[in-house]
């Protein structure tokens, strides 16, 4: 069988996909009983396509449904095996996230460069830069240190309820002060004292004080620069605040002594 240009078109001719002119040419070629064998090949093609079209599905392996059913069950079991642990993990992740979020509402030691003693029901700004807030008991200004060092910030976490009554008493002039006043005012004095202690320690520990190169806004740990001048200013402001609190305590004690029925 020789190579004939029409052979390539036999399949399309069989399917009726050839254009009319091409189909006519091929028909004439095949009708001429050529030596290339196109006629025989076209006949064989007809037979082949007919046989393929008559191919019916044969027998199938036994137990197909049982195998499929088992696979469905396995898949369902697999889902449950994974869904429960995944749900538990998800719950755990949410719990951790909530815990961490709640933890961030308390002051971070040196985290954002500031820390506060809360609650602060009435906002009141101090004249000293970096110190602001309102005291918990009397509405007196409390302390917020901006740009404090880690040591100082660690010292001003939310105040614990206990305080040093003896310290307050020792700071007072020889005046008779009722115990309830010492308790009320002491709650304000104690955090001021703690902060003062921390600030003084920082100012004394020259080596621990984070130094910032000239012109740099933050030190190597991302803190605002804490210069000696601002540190000293904060100490003095806190000392004045402490004196004010004690003076008010004395005044109230004297007023109560003058008019005990109030």
């Amino acid at each position: 069988m020789t190579d004939c240009a029409f052979r390539e078109q036999l399949s399309a001719y069989h399917d009726g996909d050839l254009a009319a002119a091409e189909a006519e040419q091929l028909r004439e070629h095949v009708a001429s009983a050529p030596a290339c064998g196109c006629r025989e090949e076209l006949a064989a093609l007809h037979t082949l396509v007919r046989d393929l079209g008559e191919l019916a599905p044969g027998p199938v392996p036994a137990g197909g449904w049982e195998r499929l059913s088992a696979r469905l069950e396995r898949r369902r079991a697999w889902r449950w095996e994974w869904m429960l642990p995944m749900a538990a993990l998800l719950l755990l992740a949410v719990a951790i996230l909530l815990f961490r979020t709640a933890d961030r509402t308390t002051p971070e030691p040196g985290g954002a460069g500031s820390a506060a003693i809360r609650p602060a029901p009435r906002p009141a700004e101090s004249e000293v830069p970096g110190i602001s807030g309102v005291g918990p008991a009397t509405g007196r200004p409390a302390v917020v240190v901006a740009g404090g060092s880690r040591t100082a910030a660690r010292a001003i976490r939310p105040p614990r309820p206990r305080f040093q009554a003896a310290t307050v008493k020792a700071s007072l002039p020889p005046t008779r002060v009722p115990t309830d006043l010492i308790v009320a005012y002491g709650a304000e004095v104690e955090p001021i004292d703690r902060l003062l202690r921390a600030l003084r320690r920082v100012s004394q520990e020259d080596g621990n004080h984070p130094r910032v190169p000239p012109g740099e806004p933050y030190d190597e740990r991302g803190h605002e620069p804490q210069t000696d001048a601002t540190l000293q200013g904060q100490i003095e402001a806190l000392e004045a605040l402490r004196a004010d609190v004690l003076a008010e305590l004395v005044m109230e004690a004297q007023a109560r002594a003058a008019a005990p029925w109030k």
Partner: protein, 193 residues
Amino acid sequence: MAQETVRVTLETTPRAPTVGAEGDLILRVAQGDRAAFQALFARHESYVFWLVRRLAGSRVDADDLSQEVWLRVYSRARQFSGGEAFRGWLRTIVIRCCLDLRRRRHARGEDRVETTAGEPPPTRPASALLRLDLERGLAALPEESRHVVVLHDVEGMGHAEIARALGISEEASRSRLSRARRNLRERLGGTTR
């Protein structure tokens, strides 16, 4: 007159399983009805198995792959829209499963392993022998040609439909079909009737 009209209507109502009947079954399958799924499987098991086998060209693959087809039918039953013929929808899933298998194998660099293990012995009447030869001839074709010839000559799909299903052009489909037929005829020699 009215009775005659009713009689004519009843006579023209098709008795064979219709799209509606399959649609009802697949709707129940979508709702998780295992009995409906079993009924659907029983109706089309043979069709799916043999279409998979002819497209994949391997008896070994056919069993596992047809199971995969049915798992897809089960999980995608909700996607069947009543507007189309169920057989066409099923055939699309079969073709995609076969193409996925081909992609996985190409990705792994595996060649198709053809085996005739488990084939019935060739002591059959002429028609059975012819059928066996045709099946073997199809299995021996290159994969791309085989897909087209099975879908066109066995399944009766048009070139436009084949082109869409396989992601090729209509011209490529025609060309592959022509090549496949010639290849198949040469392999079969004088076997066909």
